[in-house]
C-alpha cells in the first residue's frame, strides 16, 4: 500500500483584524496589539492528522508591513516553516516576499512564481478586506451566514463563507474571537484527492516569535524546490 502524502494542497485562510483607523499606518498600529498571536490547527487529510500553526509574527506600522509565519508537521516528515512579508501600503494587501525552511536547513527565499500560488489556486483570491467579505465584492467568495459551531478549541459564533470553483469547493468559518488569525474551520472538497481536507482550530496562541530569519535566507535549492509543488505561473 502506498502511504498517502499528507498536507497536500492545503489552503489556509488567515484573518487579520485591524482597528478603526482609516489610514493604513494607523490600522497597522492598532493591529500591533495582536502581534505574537496565532492559531494552532489540526488538519485532517485522508485519515491522517497533522499539526499546523499560523502566527502574526510582526506588525510594522512604519514600514506598512506585517509578517506571517506558518508551521506544519506531519508524522514521518520534517517540520516546515514558511514566512510571508505582506505589504499593507496599498488599498489591498500584497505579498511582498516569502521564505521557507525545512527541518534544520537554512531558510530559503521563495520565488515570485511560488508566491503567486499553486495548484490552480490564485492567492489573491484570499487577500480580502472585511468590506469585501461583508459585501461580497470579492468574486467567488459568498457569505453563507452566521453559525455557532463547535471545534476542538471551543464553541464559537462564526461567519461561514464558501468559494465554489469548477472542480473544488471551499468553505470556511471565521470568528472575531479567534483574532488575529480568525479562521475557525476550513473544509475543502474536490475531485482530486489532495483537494479533500479539513482544518479545525485547536487553540489560540500568543507570545509567538519568528523561526525564520530572512537575512539568512539562501536561494531555493533544488531539493526543497522539489518538496514544494509546482507554481501555477
Amino acid at each position: 500500500m502506498k502511504a498517502p502524502a499528507v498536507l497536500t494542497g492545503l489552503l489556509l485562510t488567515t484573518v487579520l483584524a485591524t482597528g478603526a483607523v482609516p489610514a493604513a499606518g494607523g490600522s497597522l498600529a492598532s493591529m500591533a496589539k495582536d502581534q505574537g498571536g496565532g492559531s494552532r490547527f489540526k488538519m485532517h487529510f485522508q485519515g491522517s492528522t497533522s499539526d499546523m500553526h499560523v502566527g502574526l509574527i510582526k506588525v510594522d506600522p512604519a514600514a506598512g508591513k506585517v509578517v506571517l509565519e506558518v508551521f506544519a508537521k506531519a508524522d514521518f516528515t520534517e517540520p516546515m516553516w514558511q514566512q510571508f512579508i505582506i505589504s499593507m501600503k496599498a488599498e489591498r494587501p500584497a505579498i511582498e516576499a516569502g521564505y521557507v525552511q525545512v527541518g534544520s536547513r537554512s531558510p530559503m527565499t521563495l520565488t515570485a512564481q511560488h508566491l503567486a500560488g499553486t495548484e490552480s489556486l490564485d492567492v489573491n483570491m484570499f487577500l480580502l478586506t472585511e468590506a469585501e467579505l461583508r459585501d461580497g465584492k470579492q468574486k467567488n467568495i459568498q457569505r453563507v451566514g452566521q453559525e455557532k459551531i463547535t471545534i476542538p478549541a471551543g464553541t464559537v459564533l462564526s461567519t461561514r463563507y464558501k468559494v465554489e470553483r469548477p472542480d473544488q469547493k471551499l468553505e470556511f468559518w471565521i470568528s472575531d474571537e479567534a483574532r488575529p488569525i480568525g479562521l475557525i474551520r476550513l473544509v475543502s472538497t474536490g475531485k482530486k484527492t489532495e483537494q479533500n481536507y479539513r482544518l479545525e482550530l485547536e487553540e489560540l496562541l500568543s507570545g509567538l516569535a519568528a523561526k525564520i530569519n530572512p537575512t539568512k535566507a539562501v536561494p531555493l535549492t533544488d531539493e526543497v524546490r522539489k518538496m514544494i509543488s509546482a507554481p501555477t505561473k
Binding site: L11, A17, F76, W81, E130, S206, K211
Partner: protein, 117 residues
C-alpha cells in the same frame, strides 16, 4: 472603519511535495503505530499544562518561542521532573523506532528496489 484582512497563507499550498512520504511498508506496521502513539504522547508532554481560557476558546502562551510541533518551541521546558523523564524516555523510544524503521526499509529496498518509495 474596521478592516478585516483575509490572507491566504498559501504557503501551505506549497506543501504537496514536501516529501510527505511514508515508507510504503512501514505505514502498516506495528512499529509505525507505536511511533505514532509515542509521538502523540510526546506532544502531550511537550504541550504541558492546561490551556488557558480567554473567552470561549482555548488559549496558550508560547512565551516568545517559535511555532513547532505541540504548540511549543520544541523544547520540553518547564516540565515537572516526572514529565521530563517521561519526555526523555519517549524521545529515546521514538528515535529507536525511527532507526528500526529506517534499517528495515533499507533492507527491503535492497531486496525489492522501489518498494519503500
Amino acid at each position: 472603519m474596521k478592516c478585516l484582512i483575509v490572507v491566504s497563507v498559501f504557503g501551505l499550498l506549497l506543501w504537496p511535495g514536501v516529501a510527505w512520504k511514508t515508507p510504503a511498508v512501514a505505514a502498516d506496521s506495528d512499529q509505525v503505530k507505536q511511533l505514532e502513539a509515542l509521538q502523540k504522547k510526546m506532544q502531550e508532554v511537550q504541550g504541558h499544562g492546561p490551556s488557558q481560557s480567554q473567552g470561549s476558546l482555548k488559549r496558550r502562551d508560547l512565551k516568545g518561542q517559535p511555532m513547532s510541533q505541540g504548540g511549543g518551541g520544541g523544547e520540553a521546558e518547564g516540565l515537572t521532573p516526572e514529565q521530563q523523564q517521561m519526555y526523555e524516555e519517549l524521545l529515546r523510544s521514538v528515535e529507536q523506532l525511527k532507526q528500526n524503521i529506517k534499517k528495515r526499509d533499507e533492507a527491503l529496498e535492497q531486496l525489492m528496489p522501489g518498494s519503500t518509495k
